[in-house]
Amino acid sequence: MVKIEFILNGVTTRLEVNSHETLLDVLRYRLKLTGTKKGCNRGECGACTVIMNGRPVNACLMLAPKADGKEILTIEGLGSPERLHPIQKAFLKHNVAQCGFCIPGMIMSGKALLDQNKKPTKDDVRQALSGNLCRCTGYLPIIEGILEASGKRAKRRSKK
């Protein structure tokens, strides 16, 4: 067992973890933070994306001891119904989430982008989301939602 200390969603957290567990295991099964999802367990789908020291990373590839000394943000630490992050607001407004399984990862990747780049282009957003797979939405509503959250009005594409 390895003792680790890290900041999780703004709170200093001390845990004893197995060295061979991943951060995803720790979040989901020890800490019961199930918002971060396991889609493939091999770092290929992005459903497990969390923000570590300001950057999006795959929690399923992160051996738990490596969380020591880091600052980690999960979807649970991002917003609440009273104080939604602009991306969450945009996603609600445009009914972006279908099955919703990719959404926490998408939001974290989107937030990390907006924290670094206040006025991303559509290509910047595509690039930032390139490690997050979605099977339901076709990505465009997600991209438009993030652009809207950045303050840019995305061009509406659908007409009846």
Partner: protein, 293 residues
């Protein structure tokens, strides 16, 4: 079938390089070094690599995490993350083709954790950092309890997934020759979709033109042999010749013939030869244009 959980191991986080060397001496044969883990962790899960008894985590070793310039060379620590390389002013200015290559590597999440040392030591034939280092010229400093040595990048890869490192050694520094004045470079990766992919074939080219003639050309190709390789016959053909479409097309033919690609689930050998033709044509075109700047 693959595992969900990795088998248990003993985790070590050496505080400094000396401690790492002591650990390597003590447990070398039964241990592995891990930096970001983006290659090793899925390999442990898939049982492609047996989980070792000991894991030495070097991710936080400051002594191995630096980008600087010394004695005219760009010196990069092995645990520098790809995303840091991609945006580093020194790397973009002095070794631009390396910055370009890491920008194509996997996904943002992987680039934020994976390291250049990890990419090299994983020694995949598709390693994205290898072709740029080969065309720029790089020496890899390897240290062990017994001392240190510098291995040119061409000699670092013994075979697919096998490096020149023994179990008691650690890659400590990547010393890269900066792109010389008057040269232009380009990197290219051929994949199966517009989104990211493992390279079916990849390549880096550096070229210097003098009055429309190729004064120097260096080409390295990935995914078309057990290791990343230079393309000596192609380079020999181009040296001294006029930079023209005809000569580039002929060079592409020579390159397609001098590689040893395999057919696998991703692509056939025949396609990989075509991909290399495309890489030669497209990287030389961009590299030549870049010399005009």
């Amino acid at each position: 079938m693959a595992l969900v959980k990795i088998k248990p191991f003993e985790y070590h986080r050496p505080a400094d390089l000396d401690e790492l060397l002591l650990l390597l001496e003590k447990y070398g044969g039964e241990g592995r070094i891990i930096a970001g883990g983006t290659d090793l962790v899925p390999q442990f899960k898939a049982r492609e690599v047996p989980t070792p008894r000991h894991l030495f985590d070097i991710e936080n070793l400051d002594e191995l995490n630096f980008i600087g310039e010394k004695a005219g060379a760009v010196r990069i620590g092995p645990v520098v993350k790809h995303s840091v390389l991609q945006t580093s002013a020194v790397v973009r200015k002095k070794t631009p083709v390396l910055a370009e290559a890491v920008g194509h590597l996997a996904t943002p999440q992987i680039r934020n954790v994976g390291t250049i040392g990890g990419n090299l030591c994983n020694a995949s034939p598709c390693a994205d950092t290898a072709p740029p280092l080969m065309v720029l010229g790089a020496g890899l400093k390897i240290i062990s309890p017994g001392g240190e040595r510098i291995v040119p990048v061409e000699k670092f890869f013994s075979s697919a997934k096998i490096t020149a490192l023994n179990t008691m050694e650690v890659l400590a520094e990547i010393i890269v020759d900066p792109q010389p004045e008057g040269y232009g470079g380009a990197f290219m990766k051929v994949g199966r979709r517009a989104g990211h992919d493992m390279a079916l074939a990849s390549g880096a080219a550096l070229v210097k033109l003098q009055k429309g003639r190729i004064e120097d050309v260096r080409i390295a190709l990935g995914s078309v042999a057990p290791t990343t390789i230079r393309a000596p016959k192609t380079e020999d053909y181009l040296m001294g010749k006029k930079y023209s479409e005809k000569n580039v097309l002929q060079a592409a033919e020579i390159a397609a013939a001098e590689i040893k690609p395999i057919s696998d689930v991703r692509a056939s050998a025949e396609y990989r030869r075509h991909a290399v033709r495309a890489i030669i044509e497209m990287t030389l075109e961009r590299a030549a244009k870049a010399t005009e700047r």
